[in-house]
């Protein structure tokens, strides 16, 4: 070990510096662009247990790719072997070079090209002996096996569990080629060195040995290392401008997310970080139902993110139904839906509204407010069913939007009109609180979500009617008879995935039907979502038809949903009757099951008047 330098290392060093300088600049920008509230979250997060949780998540997601594994083991193996294998090559290469040089602060290229400087122990004695050479060969083999999967995925994506794979832009293809060449180039370079020195372990040693049988490897040693350095350098030159920017960005995202930072209009740099952390892996393509009905159109989130990252206008921005299936499938946890929503401009619709207000029921205070929602007024069967259920349970309730002239504000928000939505929110909050009710029941998951997430209603519980019915059943305030029928459940996006209400609808349906319905949070999009604005009704219908086919694959007697919009959307596309969960409950109610003597009490079900 005379001198640890050769001119070929300069190529790598130049490329790596580009990536390094870019990354330091970006991290500074990401942190500097946070709002002061978010910055203090980060500051406090660094000195808390969240730091360690973030570290564990970084290892399990950025290196092991646990979430991808749970989706498809072969796809998980591909991602894991490349990420974890490469990481271990870097880590162990570093330990090996430090071990022999005794210098912790040597230039990076020393450990990257260590085998060139130190060919290692003699072959074949070292081939099956545990040692640095053996471990390094083992991980190189892991990476190469992953590379094989990656190549298969490019041409036959179904074999690794993806129906579709991302259509790459030219610069990404270039970087992809460089990435694919890195590991074979390393194998050849190391094998040449090992062949020339008669050293190496089972992979590089054997290959080097074979080389030395065929030709003299010595003159080829330097050119192969030059090639390896060139390939590494090209990859690192390209990294900042391609999807591979996700490699350094993803851990930063994991840490900031663990500290509690979320996508918001106040912290635009966090959106930028999310966009860079998107690896364009293509898992969102299969999650998106529009892939089926709009083939070839780049509606999905990976294309959306890429366009935003390139500073272009995102394609099909108003076509997306915001159902959130991509967001819950995303293994990186990029906040796809909030990012999309922020891109919808506020055009000033809905400002300065004068909505009819409400004060109690003839000035009397009530315990329960019922907010049907504007969609429910188009499907009055749900309202009359809720009337029946409320009366049967003996609750003192008031129909808040009996005139059908109120709106929760979420449709405005989905259309980008955030200012008007917040005006509306303030107005409704006041009206709700003035009624003095302790419980707000709504029939519409769209309303439920915004009431639950954004409204400030101290002392007032917000329930979707499926939750309310489930509580009534649990406390035996109402009784239902078994229908003897089978049912399938369509999980509304805003209720299941959006608000996490999964248990209660399942309980209600299981008490009515003999089907074992367990909502999973992975429900389909019915196609009627208000998130979609530009999507023409025919396309919506195609989405609905596809979803209905999947839902009724077991030929249930009835299709149950918990959203007036889903009910309306499914009705024309399936021959199986579609019912709301409230309608089904009301239909199989057993009369006289409630306790009439408590009917006049203001304390019903423990919901007291909120003073």
């Amino acid at each position: 070990m005379e001198k640890l330098f050769d001119p070929f290392v300069l190529l790598f060093t130049a490329g790596f510096s580009v990536t390094g300088i870019w990354f330091i600049y970006k991290v500074y920008r990401w942190l500097a662009g946070l709002s002061s509230a978010d910055r203090s979250l980060v500051f406090h997060g660094v000195f808390s247990a969240r730091l360690w949780k973030a570290l564990i998540e970084t290892i399990s997601e950025s290196l092991i790719h646990r979430k991808v594994f749970s989706r498809n083991p072969r796809l998980g193996y591909m991602h894991m072997s490349l990420a974890f294998g490469w990481f271990m090559l870097i880590l162990i290469g570093n330990i090996e070079s430090t071990w022999y040089t005794g210098d912790l602060f040597k230039p990076i290229y020393v450990s990257v090209f260590w085998r060139f400087f130190d060919p290692g122990p003699a072959f074949p004695r070292a081939a099956w002996q545990p040692g640095f050479a053996f471990i390094m060969d083992l991980f190189l083999l892991l990476v190469l096996s992953g590379l094989l999967f990656a190549i298969v995925k490019r041409f036959r994506s179904r074999l690794v569990g993806l129906k579709r794979t991302t259509r790459q832009q030219p610069v990404d293809r270039l970087a992809l080629t460089a990435l694919w060449l890195i590991f074979p180039a390393r194998l050849i370079a190391e094998s040449m060195t090992c062949g020339a020195h008669g050293t190496g372990s089972f992979l590089t040693g054997t290959l080097g040995h074979l080389f030395s049988f065929a030709f003299s490897p010595s003159p080829l040693v330097l050119p192969t290392w030059w090639f390896y350095s060139f390939i590494l350098s090209s990859f690192f030159f390209l990294l900042p401008f391609t999807r591979y920017a996700h490699i350094p960005s993803e851990p930063v995202l994991i840490f900031l997310r663990r500290f509690g930072v979320r996508v918001s209009i106040e912290s635009p740099s966090f959106t930028d970080l999310n966009l860079h952390a998107c690896s364009s892996c293509g898992i969102c393509l299969d999650a998106c139902q529009l892939s089926e009905v709009m083939p070839g159109k780049q509606v999905q989130s990976n294309y959306f993110n890429r366009a935003l990252r390139n500073g272009a206008n995102p394609p099909h921005q108003w076509d997306c139904l915001l159902c959130g299936r991509c967001g819950s499938a995303c293994p990186v946890g990029v906040e796809l839906i909030p990012i999309r929503q922020l891109q919808r401009p506020d055009t000033g619709i809905g400002r300065g509204l004068q909505l009819p207000g409400l004060v109690g029921k003839n000035g009397h205070k009530v315990t329960i407010l019922y907010f049907a929602g504007c969609m429910t007024h188009l499907t009055p069967g749900i309202i009359s069913s809720m009337r029946k259920i409320f009366d049967q349970s003996g609750a003192s309730w008031h129909f808040f939007d009996a005139d059908g002239q109120n709106c929760c504000g979420r449709p405005l928000k989905l259309a980008g009109q955030t200012q008007a939505a917040s005006e509306l929110k303030k107005k409704l909050e006041q009206d709700f609180l003035r009624s003095g009710a302790g419980l707000l029941v709504t029939s519409c998951p769209i309303c439920f979500r915004i009431f639950n997430e954004e409204y400030r209603l101290p002392g007032m519980r917000v329930l979707h009617h499926s939750q309310y019915i489930s509580e009534l059943l649990e406390w035996k305030r109402i009784k239902v008879g078994p229908s003897g029928l089978s049912a399938a459940y369509h999980e509304p996006c805003e209720l299941g995935r959006g608000s996490g209400i999964l248990v209660e609808p399942g309980l209600v349906i299981r008490s009515l039907f003999h089907s074992d319905v367990t909502p999973s949070g992975e429900g389909l999009c019915c196609g009627g979502s208000l998130g979609g604005v530009a999507l023409e009704p025919e396309v919506r219908k195609a989405v609905a038809r596809g979803a209905a086919e999947q839902l009724t694959v077991n030929h249930p007697d009835v299709l149950i949903t918990a959203c007036p919009l889903c009910k309306k959307t499914f009705k024309p596309v399936t021959s199986i009757p579609v019912q709301d969960i409230a309608e089904a409950t009301a239909h199989y109610l057993i009369a006289g099951s409630s306790m009439p003597e408590r009917r006049k009490s203001t304390k019903v079900l423990g919901y007291e008047i909120n003073k």
Partner: protein, 103 residues
């Protein structure tokens, strides 16, 4: 930029084609193609939660009221002609903004 859809109707119910200016309507129809299918049945106006006259897409002087739209999409659900009314309203507002004529 005149902002009228279609023609004007006098009190004596005579159609006045002198006042017809469909340029704006045509421009909007480039984006929202289904708008051309409107047969002026009034279902959208009838179902609108904000009140009568807000969604008067069929006639004249609709624009000041449009700004109070809630984007709830009920008009979209009731339209017998399958017109994407929500997109239409948003597009009209976008066009206004473009021309610096926000109401």
């Amino acid at each position: 930029m005149k902002t009228k859809f279609g023609f004007d109707i006098h009190d004596n119910r005579q159609i006045d084609l002198d006042l017809e200016d469909t340029r704006f309507a045509d421009e909007v129809a480039v984006v929202v193609k289904s708008w051309k299918a409107c047969m002026k049945c009034g279902a959208c106006v009838g179902t609108c939660p904000v009140g009568k006259g807000v969604l008067n897409l069929t006639g004249i002087n609709y624009q000041p009221a449009l700004t109070t739209c809630l984007m709830c999409g009920k008009c979209l659900l009731v339209c017998p002609r399958g017109i994407n009314t929500r997109h239409l309203i948003l597009e009209v507002m976008n066009k206004y903004r473009e021309y610096g004529k926000a109401v």
